[in-house]
Symmetry: C2
Amino acid sequence: MSLCEKFLVAQSGGPTSAINATLCGVIEAAIANQIPILGAVHGIKGVMNEQFIPLNDIFSSKENRTLLKTTPAAYLGSCRMKLPDLDKDNALYEKIFHVLKQNEITCFLYIGGNDSMDTVWKLSDYAKAHQIDIRFIGIPKTVDNDLLGTDHTPGFGSAAKYVGATIREIARDSAVYAERSVTIVEIMGRNAGWLTAASCLARCSTSYAPHYIYLPEKPFSREQFIRDIEACPARNMIIAVSEGIQNEDGVYISAQEAQASDIFGHAQLAGACRVLSDIVDKHFHYKTRGIELSIPQRCSAHFASLTDLNESVRIGFASAEAALSGKTGIMFGFRRGKDYYSVDLVENPVCEVANKERKLPEQYINAVGNDVTPAFLDYVKPLIQGEPDFILENGLPKHIALEVF
Amino acid sequence: MSLCEKFLVAQSGGPTSAINATLCGVIEAAIANQIPILGAVHGIKGVMNEQFIPLNDIFSSKENRTLLKTTPAAYLGSCRMKLPDLDKDNALYEKIFHVLKQNEITCFLYIGGNDSMDTVWKLSDYAKAHQIDIRFIGIPKTVDNDLLGTDHTPGFGSAAKYVGATIREIARDSAVYAERSVTIVEIMGRNAGWLTAASCLARCSTSYAPHYIYLPEKPFSREQFIRDIEACPARNMIIAVSEGIQNEDGVYISAQEAQASDIFGHAQLAGACRVLSDIVDKHFHYKTRGIELSIPQRCSAHFASLTDLNESVRIGFASAEAALSGKTGIMFGFRRGKDYYSVDLVENPVCEVANKERKLPEQYINAVGNDVTPAFLDYVKPLIQGEPDFILENGLPKHIALEVF
């Protein structure tokens, strides 16, 4: 460990309920090691624009660290930007490294998904190639759970918990009337079905809902869907569907409908839940309704998983310590213990994670392709356990923010 | 109090997170007074069909009562049925009273909204006219908070809490990107804006969101809306809108769009949030998105207000005791204390409540009609306080149900 270490940390990609818990872990490691830490605002863009916030003073307060841990979205803001290939725009890399050197940064920690890991990969490669002693560490996050090199991603457990509880509640709501009904609940995950699969958490001693689960990993067949509805004995059916289900030709089910609506200039008007709801309406004349869980599924920190938040803090802390020990170009992941639920941290070369997607494996999808297997429930259940304590403002979980807006 | 009392209880109208807490209060009063109590399944329809469940044994268990208090929707099922006028279908009333007498019911307690109060009114009038000694008590519930004769309705506080917390979280989520954006959140309340108004609970020391609140009590002007957006300094605007906003001619804003979409046979395709989102898209080219809070806003018991649940139990208990004391044709309401938050129960003749709607009064709406007043925040804040304890199943709040589905 060097006495003249200085951290830079940033966040990237879509928000989650746990990405600030990871930031909290990074900051706690910096504070514990008496290292100055800056935050870049809006990810790598903030690095380029030198938009930096000193974090040590703000988070010397225990209350602010607790608030950070339980505030959803991204305290430092986010961006969606992929760096060009190293040989394509050398000036951009020179600019970034100029800023880093100017600010005496010795280590840049980037919390994000597979695009962000690409950024970490390129920057660490550039540093190595130019013999620059700045370390680059990626730290995983995404509600999609689609990163390689880890049993699960920080942020997934909280989103899974919200999806499970909310579908359990929607099922209860739908069951109050004596008339037959089909409720279609649409869940995030364009290409990977992990979060949609987590809807199985809703099942309990008093309900089989969701009665079917349709995932992007399996082609969606309209005919099979109609047969499934016919075969289901439930009066008030609940169906969980990924926003990303596709037909056998790989065309998004939602895109089919969007084309039809384009005449009015309303692209993306229809989601998968509306298309399925339309099919039910036309074939069965049951009462039917589509519900998009939308943004709340990724930011409902009021119902976050304590396990997820604690693990997120831990991986942030460990990543910062790894940087201090001289590591670069890596991303930690979780490895699950065998007999009871526990996690170790494992080190991945970031190049093995960047730009790759981990889909839901076959072992978690049933043979017909309309449900998950019991093994998936065993996988997901430990990730949603426990409730965090909140500091309240007006009776609702209080947040911390860089600026009032 | 008679030794041969026997209660019948039923639930009606749209589900809430607290209607089962009220049922729990009624059952607790029956048990405390050693009175047999039956539940009618699916409201007044269950009475006509004699679909009765004995409740004393099931709820002699403290655990089952706790589960009932925290299970959303309606344990006994619901219906949407209005009885015909007394002079229109005498046979129907004869049938109902025959069933009640056959089952030796001395008091029928009906938990519901203004339609259900109409049922209580008609049944109590019929009993009086025919000198039948069966008492009828209405007990209020609705997330819409639009019943007369009460400071607020059981169920509203929990829905208001979910709306406030969720919009606070959505605001945080929307603020992560540097690009300007307008997010429109659509909230229930077709004719009364109480729940939409409750979005003001999201405001806190770090956020002014929602930046505007549009209510059904004020005509919605497209021009004013565009001026509002222009005038707002926030980079990431959040707008709360009632599903029931109407133009100056009283036409629902959502209906205008639904007509356009009818060509494809998609009635009700568009909600108010989509129409407003379209306006933003066309006039400003900001990133814009509509989010319907949909069913979760009325059934998210995982984030219920303890104040709401406790008051719901209390009004259920007191209503049952009032029945025992000989009352009929009444509905209790809450009267708020003056200096600090507390509630008394007040008695209303049910005829003064039935079929009437209480809109958000002028004092709670700002002069321009695009926000609530500070007085409204003072009104709603006490109603959302406190978190209930849950019994968990698989890490999520456990529910109790009449049947597995």
